[in-house]
């Protein structure tokens, strides 16, 4: 799935019944604007975080996604982690403090 800038994703249909994919917006600290992503419901959170990080130009670190200030378990699928269609997610680095 490729990232799109938010303006390109507006106006799409609202009917997500039976969709196998989730359309979300991801916010990253260094980008004033979010990016839209469309991911399979069964995609792992960790893989989605890595893809979002790359799309925003991040390299290295331990990218992760959060929803409503709760960091999502990278080993779960997006669906199991509770991600819903049209959710707003945030990209963060969850590397340990030292």
């Amino acid at each position: 799935m490729t990232a799109t800038d938010l303006k390109d994703s507006k106006g799409k249909g609202n009917d997500d019944r039976g969709r196998q994919t989730l359309r979300v917006r991801v916010f990253a600290p260094r980008s004033p604007k979010p990016k839209a992503f469309e991911w399979a419901r069964q995609m792992l959170v960790g893989a989605a975080a890595a893809e979002a990080a790359a799309a925003f130009g991040y390299t290295g670190g331990t990218p992760a996604l959060s929803r409503d200030d709760r960091v999502l378990d990278p080993t779960l699928t997006l669906q199991r982690a509770g991600v819903k269609d049209r959710d707003k997610l945030e990209l963060l680095d969850k590397g340990g403090g030292v």
Partner: protein
């Protein structure tokens, strides 16, 4: 790409280069947008290359009022050196050591000695009184060997505000 400053300009204003880095779109402007998104106000003093962010964190007791914090960041010599990040007295702005900091929790970057322990904080390095002689010196901050990575001001503030939100009270009581 912006033209490089002339040597005379740098001599007259030694912070010229650091200021140019701080004011890049993905640095301070993005940090201001991030702060607004969190309902916070990021203050910037251009002359001293310092930012200040007031934020509240959870108290240790469930029904107690939130703990106020004041984060400061100084960017002289940015990006050759990492910024100097501190938690200071939330009212006076004085350096009060551990009392300024939220308590360590989980994977927090708040070191119990009262320093933000991350590659992107100059004070974490032993050259500057910090606990880390093993990171290759502050000039190597953009090549972290371990731990959390944050290479821009908004990334650093994102980590700090998240660690505040995950804390439960301050590291030590504020001086009366």
């Amino acid at each position: 790409m912006a033209a490089l400053p002339h040597a005379d300009e740098v001599r007259d204003d030694p912070h010229l280069i650091a200021r140019a880095f701080v004011e890049r779109p993905d640095e301070l402007p993005a940090a201001i947008v991030l702060s607004k998104r969190r309902g916070l106000l990021l203050e910037y003093d251009r002359a001293s290359l310092t930012v200040r962010l007031r934020i509240e964190g959870p108290a240790p007791e469930l029904d107690a009022p939130p703990e106020p914090y004041l984060i400061t960041g100084t960017f002289d010599d940015y990006r050759a050196l990492p910024p100097i990040w501190r938690f200071v007295h939330p009212v006076t702005g004085a350096d009060v050591g551990t009392a300024g900091y939220p308590a360590h929790s989980g994977e927090s970057v708040m070191h119990p000695s009262g320093v933000i322990c991350a590659h992107w904080n100059r004070l974490a390095y032993s050259d500057h009184g910090g606990p880390h002689p093993d990171w290759g010196g502050p000039a190597n901050w953009q090549n972290p060997v371990t731990g959390t990575v944050a290479l821009t001001i908004p990334d650093m503030l994102d980590r700090l505000t998240r660690d505040v939100a995950a804390s439960r009270g301050r590291m030590a009581p504020l001086p009366s």
